[in-house]
């Protein structure tokens, strides 16, 4: 076992672990550099006409740098993303995602139209494949399409790779094309051939997605990494058709204090360690945990969704596993 671990982690990767044991909250070297420059350049949050700061885990960084930092994190974890999800959540993330999809129940119904689904921050395609499976298996719908967007080409690359082994990507439309065209040159209109397509997009703008064009907007475990969440919600509102549904699956606040204690201990002690052992990247997982802590609680986030112009029903959210995660749903009225 020990030899296996050392083979996985490698000698090089032991250094960050030692480093992080000394300095409790460390980031990868570039990230630290960026964060420091940011802090030096801009000590006061509102001064000098600068754009203001936002949080990156427990650190405050200038808004324009968060995107780069988050990008680094996900580029670094892209390859081991799925196995780490399984290990960290003991496989429960699969149940959450299945529940999320069955709740949305996507697919063409008798007398209805096939759907256009936009899966934002959908990187590895977890939600997208589940949506298409559901539409095909439950509703016998072979026309509903999913557009997967992510700001990070590395994560999107993983999803594209995985899509090639499913029945949804027809080789001509995704692989060959993507070999010729860079991701960011791929526009919304030239990917109509297959049922799943991938596009690099900043969720705050969704430049290539037309107004009032989508039936369903999903974002699973992505929104907490956005630099400007209200802007992303506004974009979601823009691209959805009237009556379209915004659905978000995200980590949230545990509502049972005894269990919360156990969960916090697990989050801060076990997960970064597992990140170190399995993905050889403690800092990225430290960031993931911190970003979960910084994300607003259920009520606050539901209010943010309403403020963006969505209508919610009841409390506007559903807790999963005592609030470790929550599903928020809003409809464009």
């Amino acid at each position: 076992m020990a030899s296996r671990i050392s083979r996985i982690t490698g000698v090089r990767s032991m250094r960050p672990m030692l480093y992080s044991l000394n300095a409790k909250r460390s980031l990868s070297s570039t990230a630290v550099k960026l964060a420091n420059t940011g802090a030096d350049a801009k000590p006061a949050p509102n001064g000098n006409g600068n754009k203001g700061t936002t949080h990156f885990g427990f650190k405050d960084v200038p808004e324009e740098e968060k995107e780069i930092l988050v990008g680094e994190v996900f580029s670094s974890v892209a390859k081991s993303y799925d196995i780490m999800n399984d290990v960290m959540s003991l496989g429960i993330h699969r149940l959450w995602k299945d529940h999320f999809v069955s709740k949305l129940d996507p697919g063409r119904r008798p007398g209805g139209e096939p759907l256009s689904i936009l899966d934002v921050a959908g990187g590895t395609g977890d939600i997208a494949f589940r949506m298409l499976d559901w539409a095909s298996d439950v509703h016998n719908d072979h026309q509903t399409k999913v557009l997967v967007t992510d700001i990070n080409p590395d994560m999107l690359g993983e999803g594209k790779k995985r899509s090639l082994s499913t029945k949804y990507a027809d080789g001509m439309c995704t692989e060959l094309r993507l070999q010729r065209i860079r991701y960011d040159e791929l526009t919304y209109h030239n990917i109509e051939g297959s049922r799943i397509s991938f596009l690099v997009q900043n969720a705050e703008f969704l430049d290539s997605v037309p107004d009032n064009s989508q039936d369903l907007y999903t974002v699973a475990f992505g929104i907490r990494n956005f630099t400007n969440i209200p802007a992303a919600l506004k974009s979601a509102h823009r691209v959805l058709k009237p009556g379209g549904v915004f659905a978000c699956l995200e980590f949230s606040k545990v509502n049972f204090s005894l269990f919360d204690m156990v969960y916090q201990q697990y989050s801060f002690n076990v997960i970064p360690l597992m990140g170190q052992l399995i993905a050889a990247d403690r800092d990225s997982y430290q960031y993931l945990i911190e970003s979960i802590q910084r994300f607003p609680d259920q009520e606050t986030f539901a209010q943010m969704i309403r403020d963006a112009g969505f209508e919610t029903s009841g409390p506007g959210y559903e807790n999963l596993t005592m609030g470790i995660a929550a599903i928020h749903i809003g409809v464009k009225a």
Binding site: K103, E299, S313
Partner: protein
């Protein structure tokens, strides 16, 4: 319209869409706001018109969205799916009971007769969906839905006693509501299996249950008198025995 001496349970905990406007007391002049937005109420009412044909299922909800010009996917906004549709049926029929107040007040002065009349009105409202009601009851009986279902039953019993003009301020307040809940749910179950014309058997069943409750009350009353008398007598007997030595 209603006198302020009537006691009524306050709106305790409302869903958070109306949290800001919900009050912890009940005031006749400030009725609690609807937990549904106008758009949601429209969708759910349209969906209910599809229940006799499709049943309490998600398809009815989807058709309701379609009728109101929304997309098929809009149904996802209702977090509890079919249970939200059922709850809307219960909520809307409960609030509609107040429409019968003037008529029932004019016809009878007897409190228990009024309670019976309200029960009949409420059960009649189930008639259009009665063949589908067992589906709804099954969904209401699912463990996650049980608390909300019981809460709705309690609210219905409270509404009926309140409209009938109940002024009890003792422990009776609770027993009346509890016994009416039991009677109402039993009658509703009976009604799902009733094939008589215009639910004649159901109304007779309801009469018998209400009589039982009255009877039970007098039985309880006389038993407690008997227990008290016998208890006192035994203590006195013991005392006299001890005094004798």
């Amino acid at each position: 319209m209603f006198t302020s001496t009537h006691l009524r349970s306050p709106v305790c905990k409302a869903s958070s869409t109306i949290l800001n406007s919900a009050r912890l007391y009940h005031a006749v002049s400030h009725l609690p706001p609807s937990p549904y937005t106008p758009a949601q109420a429209r969708i759910l009412s349209s969906a209910l018109t599809h229940v006799p044909e499709h049943g309490f299922v998600k398809d009815a909800l989807v058709l309701g969205c379609r009728d109101q010009g929304y997309l098929d996917s809009t149904h996802a906004v209702f977090h509890n799916g079919v249970f939200d549709l059922i709850q809307y049926h219960l909520y809307s029929e409960r609030t509609k009971l107040a429409q019968h107040k003037d008529k029932i007040d004019a016809e009878t002065n007897d409190l228990h007769e009024r309670v019976k009349r309200y029960c009949v009105e409420r059960l009649k409202a189930n008639a259009p969906v009665i063949k589908r009601l067992p589906e709804a009851l099954a969904v209401m009986g699912l463990p996650p839905n049980v608390p909300a279902s019981l809460e709705e039953l309690a609210k219905l019993a409270d509404e009926i006693w309140y409209l009938a003009g109940d002024k009890s301020s003792t422990f009776d307040w609770y027993t009346r509501r509890a016994s009416l809940s039991a009677v109402y749910s039993a009658t509703e179950l009976y009604m799902t299996q009733d094939n008589s014309t215009d639910f004649k058997n159901t109304w007779e069943f309801l009469d018998r249950r209400l009589e039982n409750v009255a009877h039970l009350k007098s039985t309880l009353g006389s038993s407690s008198t008997w227990i008290a008398f016998t208890g006192m007598a035994s203590i006195n007997l013991l005392r006299s025995q001890l005094a004798r030595g």
